[in-house]
Symmetry: C2
Subunit: 329 residues, 2 copies
């Protein structure tokens, strides 16, 4: 499978490094707008000698001209649906399939149904598949809970909790959750859409879609978690009383009933990290993944593992729940 | 969706009762060879008044002649692949899709690759989809562990444990696990293929298939669980020292390495029933469903919930992991 990488930030580099370990992958190049990276070899950027002959190009067209057409592009550059669609549309027009870590692409119809419909039409016209995935959104707070309902005869409500010790995560994430800010300053940034976890509403919308629940209201709140001691990581320093992470909460009501609650805590030194989910229904189910699913490594895995599955699916803008069951590839 | 039910034993009746609650289901009839049931109404057999006009027919052909062609048949009559293929082949030849609780149909190529290939060819020729599913096999010891590996960058081994308190289950299951027999007598029955849990090897084979592991050896053992006190259920009476259930264990080696272990305990008064799974890999994952997934109700749910998903899949003899993610329907 010929693969190219769009976006060579930390997640893009990790995606390439993982992809390079797969026998079914042939990496033909990368795309990034950073002048410091253009023209360099992916071997140099990743430290993987086998990628020495694959180069970084400034655009899709230059990659196509120089390295040929990939079967799949791994897209790890943006969180917003509009920007993602603008970048992915030309790929789909060339019939190239895309697996993206764009959080809003998990359920693209939520924020931009018109862009989603257009990208879907382009995919179908040119034989491309496009999928948004990851670990969260993309797995622990949406796909996995949906999967559990497959053995239920009735489902009344779904509750999901995720607790992440952000001290174990990459620097950009530690900053994204407000580490070191005053709590009020972080909450203001969140309210302006400039901080916080992207994709919580998409997780909720995907669950509702799969369960056939017509959303009456979907809400999201975010509060700062306040450090009760000084915390220092390789990336940030936080004083007692400052923000050390977030508590983000999403809720879906159908009619007057609360049907979905998603509770996410990501903060430095969080004790007892875990992923859990309760299905209120018959049978009632209560699942826990102790220590939780580590975010960065798992997101990269979800992206790479999805490539063989999307190529088996019919063309279109796909949902994680429409293609085959997630699986190591 | 026009539905017919093949096999009107306890699981078939429960399948019908659940299907009758679904707005997307139109039940047109049942098929059973029991003379006491033929000609009766499904309303009478299930106690569901809405099914009063649907009848029991002695064969597929008589149902087709009298009630028309169903889109999907729920098949809940046998555990063995050969018998299932013989019953399902004529349905597929009519282009009718089938969701079956036949345990060996979860991974049909394991025991009878020739029959599986033939049924697959028939399905493709006539536009039918056939799927084997259930809660175990079909979900907790195979599909769910596979699903977890979707966020793994490497998988070294997979271990699954299921503990079921059989005292909460239906009478036939309490007998199938040897309740009230002498332990040696039960173990002899198991060795003759006349008792025990069907489908453990299929679960292991499905996991290996999804992970791309070439099985060197697949083994299965079964020991009696011995009652440490007298146990009485509505269905069986067991004296201390008699068999009160089973401990069945399956193992897959690839080369010299043990890659999959499946450990199943089903016995009367089992404490702490649960389903758990550990993925040895990166990230390592440890999942538990406390109290476990109740068997009978969940199996019926898995069968009914699968119907909309198979109709979206391309024709063929399908695997649970090839179609969309399990979901309440």
């Amino acid at each position: 499978m010929k693969i190219a990488q769009f976006g060579l930030g930390p997640i893009g580099i990790e995606t390439l490094k993982l992809a390079a370990t797969k026998s079914w992958v042939n990496i033909i190049g990368g795309i990034d707008i950073d002048p410091a990276k253009i023209g360099k070899s992916l071997g140099e950027l990743t430290g993987v000698p086998a990628l020495a002959s694959a180069k970084v190009y400034p655009s899709l067209e230059t990659l196509l001209a120089a390295a040929g057409k990939p079967d799949v592009i791994f897209h790890t550059s943006v969180s917003k649906i509009k920007a993602a669609c603008d970048q992915i549309e030309p790929m789909a027009r060339h019939g190239i399939s895309v697996v993206s870590s764009c959080e809003e692409l998990l359920f693209p119809a939520l924020r931009d149904p018109a862009a989603a419909a257009q990208l879907d039409a382009t995919c179908k016209k040119h034989g491309a598949r496009v999928l948004g995935t990851g670990v969260n959104p993309g797995f622990v707070m949406d796909v996995l809970p949906v999967c559990l309902t497959g053995v239920c005869r009735s489902v009344k409500a779904i509750h999901v909790q995720r607790v992440v010790n952000a001290a174990t995560r990459r620097g950009p994430l530690q900053k994204k959750i407000g580490s070191g800010l005053e709590p009020a300053a972080f909450e203001k940034l969140f309210s302006e859409g400039k901080a916080g976890h992207a994709g919580l509403k998409e997780s909720a919308a995907l669950i509702a879609h799969c369960l056939g629940w017509k959303i009456s209201n979907i809400t999201e709140t975010c509060r700062a978690m306040v450090a009760d001691h000084d915390i220092t990581t390789p990336h940030v320093s936080v004083k007692k009383g400052q923000c050390c992470g977030l508590h983000q909460y999403g809720e879906v009501t159908v009619g007057q009933e609360v049907k979905i609650t998603l509770d996410l805590k990501m903060y430095l030194d969080a004790p007892n990290p875990h992923d859990s989910c309760q299905i209120e229904g018959e049978p009632a189910l209560s699942m826990t993944i102790s220590t939780g699913v580590a975010g960065d490594s798992a997101t990269v895995s979800a992206v790479v593992n999805a490539a063989p599955r999307i190529l088996k699916a019919p063309p279109g803008l796909l949902l994680m729940t429409d293609i085959g069951v997630p699986s190591f590839a």
